[in-house]
Every structure is written in C-alpha cells, then in structure tokens.
Symmetry: C2
Subunit: 305 residues, 2 copies
Amino acid sequence: MSFADRLAAVVAERQSQIALGLDPDPARLLPEAVSQAGAAGGEPPERAARAVALHCRAVIEAAAPACAAVKLQLACFERLGGPGWEALADVCVAARAAGLIVIADGKRGDVPHTAAAYAQALMGSTPTPFGDVPGLGADAVTLNPLLGRDALEPFVTAARARGGGVFVLVRTSNDGAAEIQDDAPEGAPPLRDRLARLVDELGAAGAGESGLTDVGAVVAATEPALLSGLREEMPRAVFLLPGVGAQGGRAELLGPAFAPGPAAALIAASRSIVDPALEAGAAEAARTAAEALRAAAWEVSSARA
Amino acid sequence: MSFADRLAAVVAERQSQIALGLDPDPARLLPEAVSQAGAAGGEPPERAARAVALHCRAVIEAAAPACAAVKLQLACFERLGGPGWEALADVCVAARAAGLIVIADGKRGDVPHTAAAYAQALMGSTPTPFGDVPGLGADAVTLNPLLGRDALEPFVTAARARGGGVFVLVRTSNDGAAEIQDDAPEGAPPLRDRLARLVDELGAAGAGESGLTDVGAVVAATEPALLSGLREEMPRAVFLLPGVGAQGGRAELLGPAFAPGPAAALIAASRSIVDPALEAGAAEAARTAAEALRAAAWEVSSARA
C-alpha cells in the first residue's frame, strides 16, 4: 500500500490531519515522568532519556485518538546520546502501537552514499557481520534538498520500497527562511519554487489510489499567502505544515493546502498540544488541546471539499 | 583560543591539512576489529557498534600522525542505534586523544530552537532534572544553510563559546549539487555565491590571530574551477574540501583554497585512506596512504606561500 493511501486511511478513520510534534526538553517534562524515571536510578543520561520516553508515551497515549501522525524531533533525543537514541526507538514503538504514522523529523541531507546510510538508520536496516541491525522503522522522514536530486533519491527509494514517504523542505517556518528560500533577483524564480518542482518530479512515480504521492513537502503554516502557489506547483504532494500555534500559524488559513483532499496535508503541532499538559501537570490536557486543533483542521479541510 | 588558531597550531605542528574521514560500513571493517568484537558476544547492534569503534580506533591510531583532523560521518553511527551513538562518542574520545580536531559531519540544519538542541548534542550539554548530560564534544560541525542565517546562529554561538567552529555547505561534491547550488538564470547569482556571502558575514566576529574565522565552508574538491571565486568571496573562511580520491578530486588542483595560508583548508579523505587498510587487512596501510596525501597537500599549500 502506498504511503499516501496509508495516510489517507488514517486521516479518514480519525477525521484528523494533526501530526503531534514531540520535541521533548528534559527540563520541561510531565512531573510523573520525571519522578518515575528518577526513582529507577542510573546515570543522568539514562534517567533523563527514560523520563523523556515516559513523557512522550504519556502524551501519545492522551493525544493519539485526535491525531493521524507523530513528528519526532531527532535533535531532542540525540542530545541525550545513546540512551536518547534508545528512547527515540521506544517512542517510535509506542506511536506505532497507537496507530500513528511516524515521521522522523531529522531534516537529513547528504551525498548519495551517506543519504543511503541515513535511510538505513531511519527507515531500513544495516547489514553487519553479526546480522542485520534494524533502523528506527519510521514511516516517513523530513529531508533537506540543498544537495539536489541525487541526494534525495536514496531516501525516496527506501521509503517507496516499504510504503513509506518523505517530506522535503520547500519553505520553512523560521524568520530567516526568506533570505535563502524566497529572495530572488527580478525575474528569477525563488529557491522554494525550484524545490517545489523537484518535489513534484520525484513524486511522479509514487502516486497512490488517492492521486497523492509519497514525496511530500514541508511548507510553513506561518506563510499562508504562499500556500496556493505552492499547491499549484505540487498538486499531488502531501504538505507537512509546521508553525501553527506558538509560531503564529492559524489552522483557518490553511485551506489551500487541502485542495486535493482531506489527506493532502498534515498540521504539525508541538507546543500547542504539549504545553497545556505541562501547565496542568497531567497528560490528559494534551487530548483536549489536540481535539480542538483536530476539529478546526477537519472543518477547514471539509470546507474545501 | 579561537578555532582557527587551534587548527592552525595543529596544521603547523603536523605539517598536515588532512581530515581523516571515517564513514564506517559494518560490512567493510578491519578483520581484527570484527573478530575482537564478535568474541565479546552480545546482540548484533552492540557487536556491530563495537566492531565499528575498534575499526575506527585502529585507523585513527595508524593515520593520526599524518592528519590534522578527523571527520566523523554521523549517519554511519546512527544506523546502529543507541550502541552506534555510544561508538561515535568512543571514537571522538580516541580522536581527541590522538591530537586530532574532531569534526562531526552531520550536515544539520533546523529552525533556531531545534538548531540549539543539535548544538547541545554535538558541542554542548543538556540540562536535565538529573544533572547536565554532556554532548559529543566535537570541535566542529558541518551545517546545512538552507534554513538561513537564524538557523546557523545557535551553532555559531555554541561553537564560538568553546573555541569550536562550523563548516557550512556552500558547494557539495555530489553530481546532483549543480542543479540547486550552481544553476541560476542569466544575470542572477548562483545559490552557492549567496551561501558564500552568508558564511563570510557569520564569520566576521570570529577571526583569530591568523585572520581566519570559526565559520568555514564545505567546498567540493571535485570542482577546482570554482575554488578561486569562492576563495575571493570567503577570504577568511577555512575550507573543508571533500571529494579527493574516490570521487575524483585531486590535491594538486586545490591551491587556491590555501591562498590565505596553510591552515586555510582541510582536505577530507575517507576511502583513499581507509581502503588501502581494508585491502591489506591491516590498519598500518592507512598511515602510508595518509602520509602520501599529507605530503601532496603540504606541497600544494607551500607552493602558494
């Protein structure tokens, strides 16, 4: 089954286009996760990683029914070293068990030989003299396209072989994005348009029943004015839309992203779902926040139909 | 002491501008590393990671006297999960003990908040309720600048605070690089030139005694015709030059990179140093290969003086 069709099935079943963003900060975790991890003893990296995993598991358990996917920020696990990577693998398992599509948000990008190694790490496995070592088992990854087409292809190949997908950065949500991705001399296309063309071309051979492909695009929810144009350039790509909530993006303005159908975009939300749980000191508050966002997004996507 | 001055001291002492590239493939390791790791038992990931660490340690021990730096390809460790990350940390320690500048080659790039988390992972430490968790302790990192200036700054700040440095992708060595980094409409500057300007500006406040800065640039050794132009645009940046050897780059053609001085560039070499050791089945062969490359590079840089 193609990635887009798998995603469409989850979106339809849960009536949700929310990607729960988990970028755990060990200094801001649910109190029960910290106390439980602390009680188990061990060195600081092990205890911190255990607390991070428990925190993420609790948020997933609470919010998953209102979500279609989870977006795991790799940096936040890597900073805890080996134990952090183990926590990442543990959270992947929990997310999959909760029926969520797992997106490994690492924004990787490297020369083809190395891109293939990253694909093994995130979506495949690695042959060794001692047997195959399985990777993270993510359903999808975020990719940085600066190195060009041949650096993306090993990921697309690995993803397609297992019904997975990729999300290529086209327009990011940070303030500094414009200087590189938007600015262009009079008459020249901005870089984001060239990247959009690349996304469309790479996805051509990966369309599912829905018409959507396995090569998606990361497009900032903070720049709704760009959405229609990018949707025209990438009519078959699933958009992953970060920046709703804390960064200022609003679900109501994301309609054009859903033009091809309800599974044509995922709204990534991290702080706006997790912060209420932190403020309440209990994971359950994440469900209320996720549900509110789910309902708002579903309404926007339905209005387009 | 600034990064460039630290690097200049190592380059002068060893008369070497070689960055030993380690991108270990668990299926192609020194036989003694595999047999020693296998004898110790454990699950496949642990054994494979141990073999990788032993392999890298042996290559470092053999080649270090002819090298100034080591460039560790993060993908090749990440694909072995938590044990792989532990192996990476172990190899970092060995490289530092051998007097090498450690470059974590992860080509990271993300929004500022996440970039700061990657900086903690690779060059800093992470506060947790159980105490600070130290990161990898790399001296320098490679960065992807697609997200723009604000996404690079957290790394520059973290690096500068500890006498470390960054290498920003400006022109990569893969075949597909040209489409994104070089191609531009008539009259418009290619993306690589815009990235070069960014590198020059970010480095302005980080110059050492040598005049070189802590914001370097990754420039393909496979495109020597571009070197003079990029050197003019980044007169104070240390160039990290991948692509010599297997990818077709030749040390003799890299003279323009060394125009500002002998420590103005590092030549990254992986397969051309490690493959002879694999063919001989013994790490010592890496020393001969590294020494030959060292001598060639030193001659080129001296000819420019």
